[in-house]
């Protein structure tokens, strides 16, 4: 194929933000597929439409997911894109790497794929973008050799991810990396062999700042919190005052529950323990002076997903507080009970949140064995349409 001009894409090599077009062209130097991809994209820019077809099923031996089949609809024009699949690799917890591992990945990908990649995919995987069918198994074998495994795709557990947590953050209320790693390993079967009504995502955030956006982006959101009272270091409070922080305005007035009382005279800050909802705001503003309580754990929320089909759902509280320690058996057990219930009750392509919405929280809680608590709702029902389990009434 002769080198063609790409006037539209060239425009995107200008400007201060690093250019993906430049990256594509860098890959194109070694990979004919990447070279064609530049041309295909230019075509899309001209025609204002995509040129990819629905994927056929491709994969590696022993797994049901982890590879997304992709084929161009103009294979005659772009023979190297006739097969151009994606392989998802499960990232290490917290997206930490040593350069040795990264270089290994690059070398393998240079051999078997387009040389194009996403660090990372939006769920968290390393995305190896563009390979032919025949390279799938050998590439996987080599990635495996290098210590990497496939991520999720299809109706399975998707690759869990976690915030940087205790590795670099003072707010972490549990070990997000360990939890993510341990739980990912526990559920390898669920991750690699799709068998549910639809996908299921788990994300781990160490505190209510929710740096993985888990509440919006995962079916199960695990958010660090504490059960006792936040701790205030009055010396550090005084230091903030001296440094010029307007504690009343910047902290107390923005506390959603007005749980903080600032004493101007003594430059002391106090919290009304039962009023604090652990939103993290005051801690964010004054990390030196305020820290989470001592009895730490996580809130488990369920049901998050984006728009398709019933509207986007954010995950909601199903367990206000759970210890996240040891072998995480309490959490794992809960997941298993939830999946079992969903398996029995969910329709095809129905996310867990949608299944619960359709069948009702009451049924879900009863059948999964979770005690109903007011923390599960912003407010109780406004309608009087209670389903009464008929064994609770007098017949």
């Amino acid at each position: 194929m002769t080198e063609k001009r790409t006037p539209k894409l060239d425009e995107l090599q200008k400007g201060k933000w690093p250019s993906f077009v430049t990256e594509m062209k860098r890959a194109a130097v070694k990979s004919p597929a990447a070279a064609e991809l530049v041309q295909l994209l230019e075509k899309s820019y001209e025609e204002r439409k995509g040129h990819w077809k629905h994927g056929g099923i491709v994969g590696v031996k022993g797994y049901g997911g982890g590879v997304i089949g992709r084929y161009t609809d103009v294979p005659e024009e772009f023979p190297n894109l006739a097969e151009f699949h994606t392989m998802r690799l499960n990232q290490p917890a917290g997206w930490f790497y040593n350069t040795k591992s990264l270089r290994d990945l690059c070398d393998i990908w240079e051999k078997h794929g387009s040389g194009l990649t996403n660090f990372h995919g939006s769920t968290g995987d390393i995305i190896m973008l563009g390979m032919t069918t025949e390279h799938i198994q050998p590439a996987f074998d080599e990635f495996s050799e290098a210590g990497f495994d496939l991520g999720g795709s299809g109706s399975d557990l998707r690759t869990p991810s976690c915030c940087v947590g205790p590795a670099r953050c003072e707010h972490a209320c549990y070990d997000t990396l360990e939890a993510c790693h341990d739980i990912t390993n526990e559920f390898q079967d669920e991750l690699h062999r799709p068998m549910w009504p639809y996908k299921f995502k788990i994300k781990f955030s160490g505190c209510a700042n929710d740096c993985t956006a888990s509440i919006a982006r995962s079916d199960c959101s695990v958010i660090g919190t504490w059960r006792d009272t936040l701790r205030i270091d009055q010396n550090e409070v005084k230091a903030y005052v001296e440094a010029g922080l307007d504690i009343q305005a910047a902290v107390c007035d923005k506390c959603p529950t007005r749980a903080l009382k600032f004493d101007y005279k003594n430059n002391e800050l106090n919290v009304i323990p039962e009023d604090c909802s652990r939103c993290m705001h005051c801690i964010n503003v004054m990390p030196k002076a305020i820290q989470p309580g001592k009895e730490k754990g996580a809130t488990i929320l369920l049901g998050g997903k984006s728009t398709i089909v019933q509207s986007a759902f954010m995950a909601w509280v199903i367990v206000p507080f759970m210890k996240m320690e040891g072998d995480y058996e309490e959490f794992k057990d809960l997941m298993r009970r939830i999946w079992e219930w969903w398996d029995e009750n969910g329709k095809t392509r129905e996310r867990i949140g949608e299944t619960i919405y359709r069948l009702g929280m009451g049924k879900f809680l009863r059948e999964v064995g979770l005690p109903p608590v007011p923390q599960m709702v912003f407010r109780p029902r406004a309608n009087p349409y209670v389903f009464w389990p008929q064994d609770e009434i007098e017949k």
Binding site: L9, E11, L12, G15, W17, P18, F20, E23, R26, L41, Y45, E47, R48, K49, G50, W52, H54, G55, R70, N90, P92, G94, W95, F96, N98, T99, K100, L102, R103, L105, L116, T117, N118, F119, H120, S144, S161, V164, P166, R168, C169, E170, L177, H181, T184, N209, D210, A213, S214, I215, A216, P256, C279, M280, N284, P287, S306, T307, I308, A312
Partner: protein
């Protein structure tokens, strides 16, 4: 031979020594300059993280470049963030400026911390997906070129998180972003009976339509769409290639604003549509970049310190948002789907 179910590499082997030593011991952090986080440990150790913008869609050469820098400055360790930035991790304060200089030389922007815009979470677009209504990387590049200052400086009222999804599947999970760019179709699927006959399960296809717009067409062994009921969600196209929904003339981007996911101060909230459609105008999507710049400028000029986009709008009221930004309101912005009731103003209190 591959080892099945070995799982991801253990994170411990990826951590730099300073992190291993201070794991769980961090006491507080500061942001000495945009793009640099300084974390201080109980042990007194200080960790510097240099945050670097990435196009995310990169070549292995790019990754190798990163490795070279990490080897040179960071003893061979680095990480990526939840928003696809790169973070170089340094125990040695004296290396911060040299590293930044090296990055700048490579054209890599340092920033995205504190009250700045971070990287745009985004998706595949025309580069690799089969259902996009717009491109992903091209729009992001255009928007970030325009907002570059806001990445490298911390002069916004608060953090600004932009998300982009190239179709309603919303792989960018843009639904809770300060600003969301969403690729939208605007015409019903064109039915290709032949493609449907090949391997589409008609009942599943019919069931996939959220509005019940699809019904079987037994004669053609295909389906019919009631166009009046179709809202162009594309879910049927995800189910079957025979429901062709891409339409170059009418595909484009919608803009939603005001979402967030943190629980700080206010509860997480959905982004809400303020512009139902802007055309796909590659390579630079000027209508999109302009619309976003306008929203950000008005927010930056009017919000109080620390107020996320949605918090600002909820304080002043959406009616005032439209006045201030000059964005026209239309019936398309009024919800008419399942949870619409909650959005109707069931109150006589509002601003003119």
């Amino acid at each position: 031979m591959a080892r099945l179910d070995q799982g991801p590499p253990h994170y411990e082997q990826m951590l730099p020594p300073i992190i291993k030593e201070n794991y769980g011991k961090w006491r507080y952090h500061e942001i000495p300059r945009p793009g640099v986080l300084k974390h201080v440990s109980e042990t007194g150790a200080e960790l510097y993280s240099i945050r670097v913008g990435s196009p995310r869609l990169v070549s292995i050469e790019f990754v190798r470049d990163l490795c070279d820098l990490a080897d040179k400055f960071c003893d061979g360790h680095l990480r990526f963030t939840a928003r696809h930035n790169v973070e170089f991790l340094l125990g040695d304060a004296s290396k911060v400026e040299p590293l930044i200089a090296a990055l700048t030389e490579k054209g890599l922007p340092v920033g995205g911390t504190g009250a700045s815009i971070s990287n745009v979470v985004h998706t595949q677009g025309w580069v690799h997906c089969h259902t996009p209504a717009t491109d992903a990387s091209g729009v992001v590049k255009s928007v970030m070129d325009d907002l570059h200052d806001y990445f490298e400086e911390m002069k916004l009222p608060a953090k600004l998180k932009i998300g982009l999804a190239c179709c309603l599947n919303m792989c960018g999970a843009a639904h809770c972003s300060d600003i969301a760019i969403v690729g939208v179709h605007r015409t019903p699927p064109r039915i290709n009976d032949e493609k449907i006959q090949k391997g589409t399960e008609i009942p599943s296809l019919v069931a996939s339509c959220p509005t019940g717009a699809i019904r079987p067409n037994p004669k053609a062994k295909s389906v019919i769409v009631n166009e009046d009921k179709c809202m162009y969600c594309g879910n049927c196209y995800t189910m079957s290639p025979g429901m062709e929904i891409m339409d170059p003339k009418n595909d484009g981007c919608a803009i939603l604003v005001g979402g967030k996911t943190s629980n700080a101060r206010t509860a997480p909230s959905f982004s809400r549509m303020v512009i139902p459609f802007l055309p796909n105008n590659p390579p630079r999507w000027p209508e999109v970049t302009e619309a976003i710049r306008n929203i950000i400028d008005v927010w930056a000029a009017n919000a109080r310190q620390g107020e996320r986009v949605g918090e600002w709008i909820e304080r002043i009221g959406w009616e005032r948002f439209f006045t201030l930004t000059g964005i026209p309101f239309s019936d398309k912005l009024i919800d008419d789907y399942i949870f619409s009731r909650e959005t109707f103003r069931t109150s006589a209190a509002f601003k003119f």
